[in-house]
């Protein structure tokens, strides 16, 4: 049986509206799940705070710019880097740019390997994000996004 997920509002600012994806079977959106899980890891709370504040500032002050993304295939990842327990661990939040004003935040985690597909923490989130981004891009082809005011009307297979 196919499970559907809808795009839902996450946080909206002057230049960018952040959205996320919520499965009809889950209580939290993907982005909420990411922030809730990462918030439980005390060592990375400062990085998490920094990541959110940065998302908020570019959404409110500057607008999205190319360097904001760390390109990894069709998806992008948001990058703070911190040395934890002697190894570089990157906090990754996978997301997808629909337009310069609409960014869909997915899920992520602490990436411990160069290749996200080799990292047990983010492998599944990376794979999911790629799949959802592909589906959203198909929606984008079939739908004129500039005409859509309420992106919450968009559903994709979860």
């Amino acid at each position: 049986m196919n499970t559907l997920a809808r795009i839902e509002d996450f946080e909206t600012y002057k230049f960018i509206g952040y959205y996320s994806l919520r499965s009809e079977l889950k209580g939290y959106s993907e982005a909420e799940d990411f922030f809730i899980r990462m918030d439980e890891i005390e060592d990375i709370q400062d990085d998490l705070d920094k990541l959110w504040y940065w998302l908020e500032q570019i959404a409110d002050k500057t607008g999205w710019y190319a360097e904001a993304f760390r390109h990894e295939g069709i998806c992008v990842a948001l990058p703070p880097k911190k040395r934890i327990t002697g190894e570089y661990n990157d906090l990754r939040l996978y997301c997808h740019l629909i337009t310069n004003n609409v960014v869909v935040l997915f899920n992520g985690g602490i990436k411990t390997q160069d290749n996200p597909e080799d990292c047990p923490n983010v492998k599944q989130h990376f794979s999911n994000a790629k799949g959802w981004a592909y589906k959203l891009d198909r929606e984008k082809i079939e739908t004129d996004w500039t005409e859509i005011i309420d992106v919450e009307e968009i559903f994709i297979n979860y």
């Binding site: 922030f35 809730i36 709370q45 705070d49 504040y53 940065w54 908020e56 904001a68």
Partner: protein, 166 residues
């Protein structure tokens, strides 16, 4: 669209330390300034060229300009040297550099200010008209609303500039 309360984000917003905000703000400001100089400056036009001059990979420069990178003083110095223009300016340096500011509109001086004695500043607001310029006390252009201007950091030539000297 319905608006709902995002509890986890509210929690994070309430917890963010002042120094975290300042760090991100500075990083975004520096990235903005470098992008601005690449676009409107007069020596280096692309990230690729900047990377070549700094002997870095272009991806490294892209990371520097993400607005999240923790740039070192040395990296900021290298960027400043390569771009031949200030990237960050302290309040004291700004006061010295812009002790005297001239605003030009359609080649006419319409406003002159002095850091210690600003005149008419409350009555003037720079518009988005394309022919507005700000000159510092040395006659150097440091701001223009004209999109294609390409001589930021250079000297603005006005045939009758001396007429406007206070």
């Amino acid at each position: 669209m319905k608006k709902r309360r995002n509890n986890i984000i509210e929690k994070i917003k309430n917890r963010i330390k002042p120094e975290t905000k300042i760090s991100v703000d500075l990083s975004i400001d520096i990235a903005d300034q470098v992008r601005h100089l690449l676009k409107y400056g007069n020596n280096i036009k692309t990230q690729k060229k900047l990377a070549e001059i700094l002997n870095k990979e272009e991806s490294e420069i892209s990371k520097w300009l993400s607005g999240l990178h923790n740039l070192t003083i040395d990296s900021i110095a290298k960027l400043t040297a390569a771009l031949d223009h200030d990237i960050i300016l302290t309040d004291l340096k700004a006061r010295a550099k812009y002790e005297r500011v001239i605003i030009i509109y359609n080649t006419q001086i319409i406003f002159v200010s002095d850091a210690t004695e600003v005149s008419d500043s409350h009555n003037y607001e720079l518009t988005d008209d394309k022919d507005n310029f700000l000159l510092d006390k040395g006659g150097n252009l440091f701001f223009s609303t004209e999109k294609n201007i390409n001589n930021i950091g250079g000297t603005f030539n006005m045939t009758n500039k001396s007429n406007f000297e206070a």
